[in-house]
């Protein structure tokens, strides 16, 4: 029998985005917010809803998992009927204020990064040697120059400065245990790059990658498709060799702001050892992200961000895609 994937839509109003409820099997509902736009405000709304859902648990909701502009709600249909789940979600949505008034629990997590280090270069070399010798994104044995070229940046330093200047917003965790999907909060620092084609079979732990507009840190050695810019510290450890991982093997969670500072490769390797020997203490500040303040600030940098985007679009148009 035929059914519809979309079971209900609610128009946006009162500073809140439109909501689309989609069937995702008999045990999950996918709740989407707004339109398919690359708008971080939608993610702020997602995290505010997710927080509110945790504050108002309903019998039968097993777990919720945010995406960029959606939440996947897993539930037990024998405890909570789909209709009752919808009612509960309506009530939670109605209880929320407008986007401008939202305050999201948000830590600032400071992490060192060594750009274009020998481990990420080794991953690129291995790719060129064993998978694709003529990959335009691997020219010169690094992905960094390709990112610079694709975005029309003056040089590597301009790329590094943009990564260091902004805070990265952790929109959600997924794909693989502990992997953060991060986006620059300062639109002037937005960079964009196509992914590997085909993908890479090896990436070092802690590698910082860029795919499309999204930054990610690789939690463990793994395959991957993002262009590599450097390497940071461990963000995931089930063995809990460092105190930070004892209660939770994941360093990052949705809503965290990651701020990178630059270190040399030797220092990074020493810090890696310090993490494993439980000598290193991760620097994390508790805090709240005021969405209204952020939205008020955005227009001040809009012209500059638009100009950079034009420059990037021009460069991208004449840069080969992998």
């Amino acid at each position: 029998m035929t059914t519809q994937a979309i079971i209900e839509t609610v128009a946006g109003s009162g500073g809140k985005p439109a909501i689309t409820y989609r069937l995702a099997g008999d045990r999950c509902l996918l709740v989407e917010y707004g339109e398919m736009e690359f708008d971080l405000t939608l993610n702020f709304f997602v995290l505010a809803v997710d927080d509110a859902l945790r504050g108002r648990p309903a019998d039968g909701i097993i777990e919720t998992a945010p995406g960029f502009r959606s939440i996947l709600v897993s539930y037990d249909p024998f405890v909570l009927a789909t209709g009752d789940l919808l009612e509960h979600l309506h009530a939670v949505h109605e209880g929320l204020g407008a986007e401008q008034e939202m305050a999201i629990p948000s830590r600032t997590v400071h992490l060192p990064v060594a750009f274009d280090d020998s481990q990420t270069r080794a991953a690129v070399a291995r790719y060129v040697h064993s998978i694709r010798a003529d990959a335009p994104n691997a020219e010169g044995g690094t992905n960094v120059d390709y990112i610079v070229r694709y975005n029309g940046l003056a040089d590597r330093e301009e790329l590094y400065e943009s990564i260091l200047q902004t805070e990265q917003w952790t929109a959600f965790i997924g794909f693989f245990p502990g992997l953060p999907f991060m986006f620059p909060l300062d639109p002037r620092d937005a960079v964009f790059v196509p992914k590997y084609n085909p993908t890479r079979t090896w990436t070092p732990e802690g590698a910082l990658g860029l795919g499309g507009p999204c930054f990610a840190i690789y939690p463990v050695e793994s395959a991957g498709g993002y262009q590599l810019v450097g390497r940071t510290l461990p963000i995931y450890d089930v063995q809990a060799r460092n105190a930070i991982f004892r209660e939770n093997p994941l360093l990052l969670r949705a809503g965290d702001r990651v701020k990178f500072h630059r270190v040399g490769e030797e220092e990074l390797l020493a810090l890696f050892e310090d993490v494993h020997a439980d000598r290193y203490r991760y620097r994390i500040e508790e805090g709240v992200f005021e969405v209204g303040e952020y939205l008020e600030w955005l227009p001040q940098v809009k012209d500059e961000a638009d100009e950079r985007r034009r420059r990037r679009d021009e460069a991208a148009a004449v840069t080969p895609v992998p």
């Binding site: 995702a24 919720t64 959600f172 997924g174 245990p177």
Partner: protein
């Protein structure tokens, strides 16, 4: 001394699993893991008198030998395969006592079916991780050292459970095995008319799909198919119309990755930027564990959520002691 068993032959991929696996971790990037065929797994546990959460073994294809260092009640269920205790053939879907020192050998399955489950009284006693003993192969965690078993591994067993009486899972309560599988699925989350055309959906639910050789616990890859698509590109999310801004995936989703539909398995990626056109019903999910790469074919049968839930209730009713008979 604690009860244990020793692996003499591990086969191609034998893992410790429990049902329903690791729930509540999706937002941290963990799929639930757990048995790919939860029906045969649960039946094997039921036969040996274990409580439902007890851990057992998932054997892919076969070629496994286990030696029990203590007496135990064991049951083998799932794909057609030759099973023997100390050389004596034993039927599947039946429990029996094995003495300390006995060897259980599971031959290579010729099908139908692809995975074989071993229930052992007391369950496999590996340390739980985030509430489950299931092996999550993609995260290399849980189960026994986060990996498939190999010769020489020694697994601790929990304290004896059940009364050791041999029992049989009634043939009428067993699901039919085949080379052609009809799998119940609901439409969406991303279907027609906004992502695919109605004709695409008719194709998705109407045709037979061959199972690709590169299928495993992370997913069942089907055949590439050129859908019509309701949009020309994925817009800001990417060039291909299968691209969307990344979201979390439900287990059992039929994820369309470019032109390739993949059924997301229990160890799959939890999130990504591709649409999921349909989602396998929980009551039909066990079948994906029995799909044989190369040769088996799948057709999705569209059901409503209400029908899916009703099927799930029937399945739960079959997985009770009422389905057991004495041997």
């Amino acid at each position: 001394m604690a009860r244990s068993l020793e692996v003499l032959e591990g086969g191609i991929q034998t893992t410790v699993q429990d049902y329903p696996g690791r729930r509540g971790m999706l937002a941290r990037g963990f799929f639930p893991a757990g048995p790919m065929d939860h029906f045969a797994f649960r039946a094997a546990n039921l036969l040996v008198g274990n409580p439902e959460p007890a851990a057992g073994l998932e054997v892919t294809l076969g070629g496994v030998t286990l030696r029990f260092d203590a007496g135990a009640t064991v049951a083998v269920a799932g794909a057609e395969a030759e099973a023997a205790v100390d050389g004596e053939r034993i039927p599947l879907w039946e429990s029996r006592r094995v003495a300390a020192g006995s060897q259980l050998r599971i031959g290579v399955s010729q099908g139908p079916g692809f995975r074989i489950y071993v229930g052992i009284s007391g369950g496999i006693d590996v340390p739980p991780l985030f509430g489950s003993r299931a092996t999550y192969t993609m995260g290399a965690l849980g189960g026994f050292e986060g990996r498939a078993l190999k010769a020489g591994d020694r697994l601790a067993l929990g304290g004896e459970s059940g009364d050791g009486t041999p029992r049989r899972f009634r043939p009428s309560a067993r699901p039919p095995y085949s080379r052609e599988w009809e799998i119940e699925a609901t439409r969406g989350p991303h279907a027609a008319p906004d992502f695919l055309t109605e004709e695409d959906m008719q194709t998705l639910f109407g045709r037979w799909w061959s199972v690709d050789r590169n299928s495993n616990r992370t997913g069942i890859r089907l055949e590439s198919h050129l859908f019509q698509w309701a949009r020309t590109t994925g817009g800001i999310a990417g060039g291909h119309p299968s691209n969307i801004l990344d979201n979390s995936y439900p287990v059992g989703a039929v994820n369309v990755n470019g032109d390739l539909p993949v059924i997301l398995g229990p160890d799959g990626p939890t999130a990504g930027g591709f649409i999921c056109a349909a989602t396998v019903a929980h009551a039909g999910f066990w079948k994906i564990g029995q799909l044989r790469p190369v040769g088996d074919r799948v057709r999705f049968r569209e059901v409503t959520v209400e029908e899916a839930i009703a099927l799930d209730r029937e399945l739960d009713e079959r997985l009770t002691v009422a389905s057991l008979e004495s041997v």
